[in-house]
């Protein structure tokens, strides 16, 4: 069996699994798995760029995904009336002042001679800058948050088409990645891991608490859909041509309209995935990709050949994070709402890692396959666990505490299963399902 046949078969198997859940559960659920699978595949490509190509250990995927989601709110929602005049400009000014403080401190670090005077100047700049920032920021943020807090209380967005938010999400994530990469790259690999773990937590904390930005834990609802590809169910149900088509397919109107909306998303996501996959493949085969792998395999030798390792690392770290940001923006668009409380590191960072490693790190197709497979398992492990628990507890008397506890705990089988899969793959097939060529 040649490699191509084997890989195609693997994809077919995963496709059949998703089809199977369509036949046995519902088509709605199957397409939902497909859509999230497509998004996960993009995240996996991003992580594969960093880990598979360059060997960078990023455990802050969640943060970059969340920034993508934030970009959707900032780009596509309508602006809140009066928010900009009430305090929006003040907030921007405060943020600029804050940035200026940091830049000034960095300049002092770089230009002034080292010594006690330098340290004192830095501390003075930082403290003064912090108080000026707070003095400008606090009243303005409070003014914005006071505007109609039940439905708004934030600045709102630019009211642009939501598709533009996807690249914007990538840019936002890239900016954050540049900042973090600039400080943590070039140190040992564990430090990057811990730094990214931290930045992800901080990004989520900011999104939860800065109500003026995206309403914090009050969530933003009603994010516009990427019309005309994705319509609204109610409109479709009143559209005569759609009714005719649904009739022809023999589907009832409600099912047909929800399926149509979800398939519209699938189409858009598939296009993005194919474009990014093509780009990643091209990058992998180009001299640049070979250089990255050379750096990954032997940093010292690559440096001796004149490659600027830290710069290349920064480059690919920013690129990979941008891809995660795009995926995050797509996910928020699919959900139609931004819920900062829903971002969990186990789900958004570590699960993507499982996808990449199970699929095959260093191979783009492997990451995509791993994403679909692991996402399918993530969704299906819960019903399977429920079924398994029911089977185990069938002999126990009804109403026993243990039986109730076991059935209730079945929901937590997910994490356990994912950990087990990761460890088994790492041990017995460390190169993944579709190994790197």
């Amino acid at each position: 069996m040649t490699e191509t046949v084997k890989n195609t078969l693997l994809f077919v198997v995963v496709g059949c699994l998703i089809l199977l859940s369509g036949f046995t559960q519902s088509w709605n659920a199957a397409i939902l798995i497909l859509n999230m699978g497509l998004i996960s595949a993009i995240m996996a490509i991003g992580v594969n760029l960093q880990w598979g190509f360059a060997g960078l250990f990023n455990v802050g995927v969640m943060g970059f995904v969340a920034l993508g989601g934030l970009a959707v709110v900032l780009v596509s929602t309508p602006p809140t009336d009066g928010a900009w005049s009430a305090g929006g400009y003040g907030i921007v000014l405060a943020l600029l002042l804050g940035a200026a403080t940091v830049v000034a401190a960095v300049l002092v670090v770089q230009k002034m001679p080292r010594g006690r005077v330098q340290t004192l100047v830095i501390i003075a700049i930082l403290i003064a800058g912090f108080f000026i920032y707070r003095a400008v920021f606090d009243p303005n943020a409070a003014a914005v948050e006071a505007i109609d807090p039940a439905v708004a209380g934030n600045l709102g967005g630019l009211n642009l088409p939501v598709l533009l938010a996807w690249p914007a999400g990538g840019l936002l994530a890239a900016g954050a990645a540049w900042l973090i990469g600039k400080t943590a790259l070039g140190l040992r690999s564990d430090y990057l891991a811990i730094a990214t773990l931290g930045i992800a937590e901080i990004i989520i904390a900011v999104m939860k608490n800065e109500d003026w930005l995206a309403r914090g834990v009050k969530n933003v609802y009603g994010i516009p859909r990427p019309a005309p590809v994705v319509g609204y169910e109610v409109e479709l149900q009143n559209d005569p041509s759609f009714i005719a088509r649904a009739d022809w397919l023999g589907l009832d109107l409600v099912t047909a309209s929800t399926l149509s909306v979800k398939l519209g998303y699938s189409l858009l996501f598939l296009i993005v995935l194919l474009v990014l996959l093509w780009m990643a493949q091209m990058a992998l085969r180009s001299p640049w990709g070979r250089m990255m792998r050379a750096i990954r395999d032997n940093e010292v030798a690559a440096e001796a050949m004149g490659k600027d390792v830290t710069r290349r690392h920064l480059q690919i770290f920013v690129l990979g994070s941008a891809v995660c940001g795009i995926a995050g923006a797509m996910m928020t668009t699919l959900d139609g709402q931004l819920t900062p409380g829903a971002y969990q590191p186990l789900r958004f960072t570590f699960l993507v890692w499982v996808m990449v490693i199970v699929g095959g790190s260093g191979n783009n197709f492997g990451s995509v396959l791993g994403a679909f497979l692991i996402w399918f398992l993530w969704v299906q492990v819960e019903p399977i666990g429920q079924w398994l628990m029911n089977l185990i507890t069938v002999g126990m008397p009804d109403g026993s505490a243990l039986k109730a506890h076991l059935i209730e705990s079945a929901a937590h089988m997910r994490l356990f299963t994912m950990g087990l899969i990761l460890l088994i793959v790492l041990r017995f097939s460390p190169r993944g399902l579709i190994p790197e060529k």
């Binding site: 060997g55 430090y191 937590e201 570590f350 087990l420 460890l423």
Partner: protein, 336 residues
Amino acid sequence: MDFLNALVALSNFVLVPAIAYGSQLALGALGVTLIYGILRFSNFAHGDTMAFGAMIAVLVTWGLQAAGVSFGPLPTALLALPFAILGCIVLVLVTDRMVYRFYREQKAKPVILVIVSMGVMFIMNGLVRFIIGPDDQRFSDGARFLIRARDFKEWTGLSEGLAIRTSQVITVVVAVAAVAALFWFLNKTRTGKSMRAYSDNEDLALLSGINPERVVMITWILVAALATTAGVLYGLDKSFKPFVYFQLLLPIFASAIVGGLGNPLGAIAGGFIIAFSEVTITYAWKKVLTYLAPENLEPSGLVQFLSTDYKFAVSFVILLIVLLFKPTGLFKGNAV
């Protein structure tokens, strides 16, 4: 009088909580740093090891409470601690045998071990949630306060009260005992010396006949004991919730790195640095400043530098500053 009041308020809201929190972080960071020194990787499963140990303590405490055993004014959890440590030791030794040993023999790169520890983290997290569920669990009992705020006011006649909770005193006492025992072990016993030798120079240690598997086993036992103690103390002081232990990973790593990864003394210093910065920066200073400032100059706002929601940001910023200016940590660690 005002000065005394300010001092009492400061102790009540900043010093006492920060000392207790610092002790917990220090114990956690000691575990991370020991693993780093001997096994040479950052253990992402450490937070969940703490959660697992604490979970056993919670279960044993419930059992003891049901059996009518109590520890007088002290929390029953202290009686449960040895059992919890034993349970945690069994877990980490089984994990080491089934998971980590393979990679040690392969001489895998540290980053692979970090990923492996991520898988272990998933499994431990799943186990804890499976056994005890994801919710808050209360297991502290005994006397709640050593000194009550009202009693303190009556004794001293000050208008500020100082409350010291039993759990805070226990935390500090147990932490001091644990650290003293650890340092005695590392510096005075033959096994401890062989561990330090192994950490300093693996090849040389092997040449002088130190059995690496034994060193690794002892390390895991120590780590399990420290992690369980830290987990139980944190649970007594705050409350037991599996997800919180995962979030403690960041301040614990920050403590270990700030002090210098692989250096036990640094881990303790780092724990207190992180705890004090977190508490002082997220504390609203209005009360203390009102006592200290002259009339009419009292602050109008809360004088809180950052809201408590950003306490992770504090440990993170300190971590970044140390990484930028002194990547090996304040005390010399063996990370390059």
